[in-house]
Amino acid sequence: MQDRIQMLKNSMEKADYICNDKTAIVLFLAEALQKPILVEGPAGVGKTAIAQAFSRMKGIPLMRLQCYEGIDESKALYEWNYKRQLLHIQAAVNQDPRQVEEEIFSETFLLSRPLLNSIVVDTPTVLLIDEIDKVDFEFEALLLELLSEFQITIPELGTIKARHIPYVFLTSNASRELSEALKRRCLYLYLDFPSRDMEEQILLLKVPDLPEQLAGKVAGIIRRLRGVEMKKLPSIAESIDWAASLMWLGKDDVDVETLLQTLNTLVKHHEDLEKIERLLHIRQDLEFR
């Protein structure tokens, strides 16, 4: 058991994703119980990346549904190709109407969208439903059948069952509360900002040739910087950018001045920027207290 968790961690690392025990266990359980994972956490902690890495690790395709306000079933599940249906009806004037009707509601005339796609393909897939909190309350209900039974019911066609049960990841920024029904069907994974050591590992993995000592420094500073109250805390992606830019600038150490020069790769909000600059000028150290 312990070996399997460790193995999972190692293979995720090979797919460029470093995860801790907690995350690995949830991944393991999702596979064992065949349940979707609901990933929550602040912006930029690798919620989307975990699905991408998982598909790389398994070597199977990733299908992605980017959610937005106003998305509906014709964009997420399926739609009838009504133009083709019209043409077909016109072309088949002399045929038995009942047969025509049967024909136009066959799979040939069905445009499948990401969710339907993910269950009808011949290979297993990873299905990523990104930013589920952006959708309307009503749309969530559409997902329930898919998430619990891995099937989609099309009134005219019947029920389509998944050939291979996809690995499903749902990500959410918790901008609103999701319905209980949806949550109940998923395993819950909360990704927080990584620990200092983990961030150091991530930096070393993501920025090739980064000196180990610099990675440690960067991770430490970022960690403390996240303790400051800001509108938007620097994410992992931003700390990677920062480490890379430090390396390109040829720095092997970070001081107040370097940070001031490169602060705009880390802090993207005008007010936050002013605040941090003020802190740095007054304190002249990198403790952020």
Partner: protein, 367 residues
């Protein structure tokens, strides 16, 4: 003493702490526990956490109960719970007890019963509870009702939108549905402007005199958030501050403390001052108001004899769609003492008396 039994006890304990655990979650949890290595605490913890908890706000509670229940030695238990012996999980017990396939139904049943039994002597319908100070302790009971109220309200608003027949024809949908009738458009579909959710701006008095009420209104606002396009929230005592980002879902009591701690709502005097708060709102945040905005004000309008500055509302009314005031005091006490509600009422679209949760819901549904 078997692990299944203990897990059930653990669920019951969580439920008592207000974490909703459904039978299906419980069965998931048991299955997850079967999959992992129980010997290691962190594996066991993760298996339970990922299947039972679906909201980060519950983590703290979960941790506490987990500590109390599964980690012997560290526990700091209440005396009345003393009869539940601490448990060290032993895999052997577990296998004896569950064969997942057969045991599920029974498990589901007993678990749901456990859930039902946990509301002892709830004689009064929580919806009718008064917003008086002594009901503060009962807030937990009401917490569960908020999402329900919010959902009901949203449903009402959606229904309103659907009855709109004066809209443009949705050509694509109409043609698509006409396919089933051989190209004859039998059903007409119209473009519903379902995306037009109202923009809401709330001003909430969080002073001590309306303590319970403000807890409720804050929690209600927080749970309403998902149904509206935009909600801006402000809180005040004698100074006003924006609190939109502070309103995360959670315990209503904590919500108010959280607001008091993190927002600058107390000014020079520290006594409720509607006039001052309105004035500084006008100075600082007036630009948030648009013709689409509906303003909701929660408070008792007890102004401690300060200037009421009702011209701010007058100004506000010119710019916004509607202003509603929710007053937790019964109507007979309006205008008595330092209550300035009648002065403010002149500039409000409507003032509602909301002394119980029921009346609050009723009032909001009339918007």
């Amino acid at each position: 003493m078997t692990v299944l039994h203990n897990l059930q006890g653990f669920f019951a304990e969580l439920r008592r702490e207000g974490v909703l655990i459904t039978p299906s979650q419980a069965t998931d949890c048991c299955q997850a526990v079967m999959q992992v290595d129980w010997e290691r605490e962190e594996y066991f913890y993760s298996a339970l956490f990922s299947t039972l908890i679906k909201d980060f706000a519950h983590q703290e509670t979960f941790d506490q109960v987990f500590q109390r229940y599964f980690i012997p030695g560290k526990e700091h238990r209440h005396p009345e719970k003393e009869n539940i012996a601490p448990v060290v999980y032993r895999p052997e017990d577990f296998i004896e007890q569950i064969s997942i396939s057969g045991g599920q139904m029974a498990m589901g049943n007993s678990l749901s019963q456990g859930g039902a039994a946990q509301s002892p002597g709830a004689s009064k319908n929580p919806l009718d509870q008064d917003f008086s100070l002594d009901s503060l302790a009962d807030i937990h009971k009401l917490e569960a009702v908020f999402p329900i109220i919010a959902r009901r309200l949203a449903a009402k608003m959606v229904r309103k939108r659907k009855h709109n027949h004066m809209a443009m024809i949705d050509f694509r949908r109409t043609i698509r549905s006409s396919m089933s009738s051989g190209g004859v458009p039998i059903d007409l579909f119209t473009i519903t402007k379902s995306r037009e959710k109202p923009v809401i701006l709330t001003l909430c008095d969080v002073s001590g005199s309306v303590m319970t009420f403000s807890c409720f209104s804050l929690a209600l606002i927080a749970s309403l958030e998902r149904f509206f396009r935009k909600i801006d929230c402000f809180a005040f005592i004698d100074e006003i501050d924006e609190i939109t980002r502070l309103l995360t879902s959670g315990n209503p009591l904590d919500l108010r403390t959280h607001v008091l701690k993190n927002a600058k709502v107390v000014g020079a005097s520290g006594y409720t001052d509607y006039g001052m708060s309105f004035k500084s709102f006008h100075e600082r945040y007036r630009r948030c108001l648009t013709h689409k905005t509906t303003v909701l004000i929660f408070g008792d309008a007890r102004n401690n004899w300060f200037n009421d500055e009702s011209w701010v509302l007058q100004e506000m009314k010119k710019n916004v769609r509607k202003i509603f005031w929710f007053n937790p005091e019964p109507e007979r006490r309006w205008g008595v003492g330092d209550s300035r509600i009648y002065e403010y009422q002149k500039h409000c679209t409507r003032v509602f008396e909301c002394s119980t949760l029921m009346s609050l819901e009723k009032a909001i549904s009339q918007l």
